[in-house]
Amino acid sequence: MPSSSSSRESQLLVPLHVSYIKALGEKKDDLAYHLTTHLRLNAIYWGLTALCIMGQKDALDRDEMIEFVMSCWDDEAGTFGAHPDHDAHLLSTLSAIQILVTHDALDRVDIPRVVKFILSLHQASGVFAGDAFGEIDTRFTYCAVSALSLLGQLHLLDGEPKERTINYIVRCRNFDGGFGSRIGAESHAGQVFVCVAALAILDRLDEVDVQTLGWWLCERQLPNGGLNGRPEKLEDVCYSFWVLSALAILDKIPWIDAEKLTAFILAAQDTESGGIADRPDNMVDVFHTLFGVAGAPLALVRMCLISNDDILGLSLLGYPGLVDLDPVYCMPAAIIEGKGLKKQWKALERRIA
């Protein structure tokens, strides 16, 4: 939310955001740091993607990053944990793959083993579990489907497993057109994103009630321009990415007031110092993201002035000077296109500064 103490910005402060992401590893002395190790790989993925979208991919050292990703390899499980010596998880698996794909370094991965791990989490109901502990959630379905697709192995779901996967997502569809985390659960913007994006990857967007869901998504916009994640909840910059990506996949971004949303996001930049642990309210914000806004599809760790996902959101809004983002895979569009994975989606045309 916009900080009242800072001046309201109307421009994206690219150099400041880049330096914040670069400083990502230098904040050793705060409590949040050791509590976020289970999301570390995910945070690096968000940071890297935000850098790519700002055209600064090289701001973090490629080789060091790849070495860190590889140090998260859990040889027992045959995939990645969030941090060296952490247990394997589907979320960190997807983050690792996304980072390696972005850096064109997939050759480092034992793909058959990773695929085996992913498929081992597929449940009889069709949903995926996040890890061996067995927590199920549609966001893990997204992680599995996206990861298999990026690895070029989505065909392994062909036939009954694919139908089962789709069927579970469809059963999570609610009367308001939205999707929840599991059967019966309330619609939530984050879950809408993961379900819609997973259906897009599986080429089954026909299962989406586009009119009803499109309306539900644009109903998320509040008079101040910001978006909330559920009816009657407060707006928060962190929802802009999920709502926007889902709208882009359904080609409905023109239904919202892009100008007001852009202004809302830019005003949330803290021009004074930012820094996640510098101030009590920022501290709370770290926990807010650390514990996952209920149903957070890809747990977001705020490591810059506004969260990295908002920079991605601005890209979809056609903000000048940014690089195109693929809203389905949440990666630079050129990379996804280069892999021949591009699905139907539409962002706003990029504006000239």
């Binding site: 990502l24 590893g25 230098e26 050793k28 409590l31 740091y33 050791h34 509590l35 190790t37 289970h38 570390r40 690096i44 973090l60 060091e64 070495e67 860190f68 140090s71 941090h83 060296p84 010596d85 952490h86 247990d87 998880h89 890890d131 061996a132 502990f133 067995g134 927590e135 609610n174 009367f175 308001d176 929840g180 985390s181 599991r182 059967i183 019966g184 659960a185 309330e186 619609s187 309306w215 644009c218 109903e219 509040l222 321009g225 559920r230 009816p231 009657e232 909840k233 023109p254 239904w255 919202i256 007031d257 007001k260 709370v284 926990f287 650390l290 514990f291 996952g292 806004v293 209920a294």
Partner: protein, 348 residues
């Protein structure tokens, strides 16, 4: 008042400030070889742990390595979970240990009553609870626990989702019996609580037919009356309007069925002629309500559009125009899209 998030912060912080003897200094743990975490010099992701957390997790890795499952492992994992409730390996190992030592699951649930409220927003707390319930198979007391937990955060996604799971998984008529009263109580506290509205829809329309609910015509009438009465208490409540649409869509009923109810809500001023009449089918907007309700205007427009024909379509476009220009300007683009589409279809 502190928010639940601040309370979470506080509980984590204060725990680290207490002076607790490190496992390394406790003779009863001297038989375990602690395993230090792999330290990576990579500046992208340096590791910082408090001495307490580092010590506990070193010993945790030590016991995992030897496969020890014992009472003290339960203490150790509880300690780690309190320091970092998102440590899923600690949760998983704790669960396996509970089974291995045949621990009291009731005691574990009592501990979880405390931890769930302290760490409401972590997935693991709720997942662990599901696993325990699948063993104890005593769902009834859970309803009261959930109610208590919703007092701390009435819209917590995990809590509601846990309740839905509990009801559907055990699917016992006694469990379902009190659900509508429960929703009433939650809506009495906050009529705009979308989670409660969603839950009502789940209970009534999406969880199968239970005894006494097979007369669907009666159920639909009951739900229509319920939602209308709620709208007549608070007119601009998107959750309630969505619920009204949900009833009609799910039961394939035309929106025109509620036209008489909707019309006064789409008017700019209250209709003074009917204020003394009590029409239970069509309760009027509350006194002082901000009129017109955008949701009601949209409803009327949908009714006109559905009727079809030039006259009706034009009436619909006028209503959308009033939303775009006056009553819901943030969604101007959407309303203009509706106008364009309707006119295009009319021309075709």
């Amino acid at each position: 008042m502190r928010t639940p998030l601040e309370q979470e912060c506080q509980s984590l912080m204060s725990l680290s400030e207490e002076t607790i003897a490190l496992y390394a200094d406790r003779p009863e743990w001297s038989d375990v070889t602690p395993l230090a975490q792999y330290e990576d010099a990579n500046p992208i992701a340096p590791i910082f742990y408090s001495p307490e957390y580092r010590d506990a997790t070193d010993y945790f890795r030590g016991v995992v390595k030897t496969g020890e499952k014992s009472e003290r492992v339960l203490k150790l994992t509880e300690h780690i979970i309190r320091l970092n409730p998102a440590h899923y390996s600690a949760w998983q190992y704790r669960y396996e240990t509970l089974l291995a030592v045949n621990a009291s699951l009731q005691a574990e649930l009592e501990l979880m009553d405390e931890l769930a409220v302290a760490f409401l927003k972590t997935y693991q707390v709720w997942h662990h609870r599901r696993l325990l319930l699948m063993l104890t198979r005593k769902p009834a007391p859970e309803l009261a626990f959930i109610e208590k937990s919703l007092k701390v955060d009435a819209k917590n996604y995990h809590t509601w989702s846990y309740r839905q799971w509990l009801l559907a998984f055990f699917n016992d008529d006694d469990l379902w019996d009190g659900e509508l009263d429960f929703v009433d109580m939650m809506l009495a506290q906050d009529i705009r609580n979308n989670s409660a509205w969603h839950h009502r829809f789940f209970v009534v329309f999406e969880s199968g037919l239970r005894e006494g609910e097979t007369d669907r015509g009666r159920i639909v009438r009951r739900e229509l009356t319920y939602v209308k009465q709620n709208i007549s208490l608070v007119a601009n409540n998107p959750s309630a309007w969505n619920y009204l649409r949900g009833i009609l869509d799910t039961n394939k009923l035309p929106y025109s069925r509620v036209e008489d109810f909707v019309r006064p809500y789409a008017a700019t001023t209250p209709d003074s002629s009917t204020t003394d009449l009590v029409d239970l089918e069509n309760p009027p907007p509350p006194r002082g309500a901000q009129l017109p309700c955008p949701a009601a205007i949209e409803f009327l427009a949908d009714i006109h559009e559905k009727e079809g024909g030039k006259e009706q379509i034009l009436q619909a476009t006028e209503l959308w125009r009033s939303l775009a220009d006056e009553h819901d300007t943030i969604r101007k683009k959407y309303w203009e899209y509706r106008i364009r589409e309707a006119l295009r279809v009319m021309k075709d």
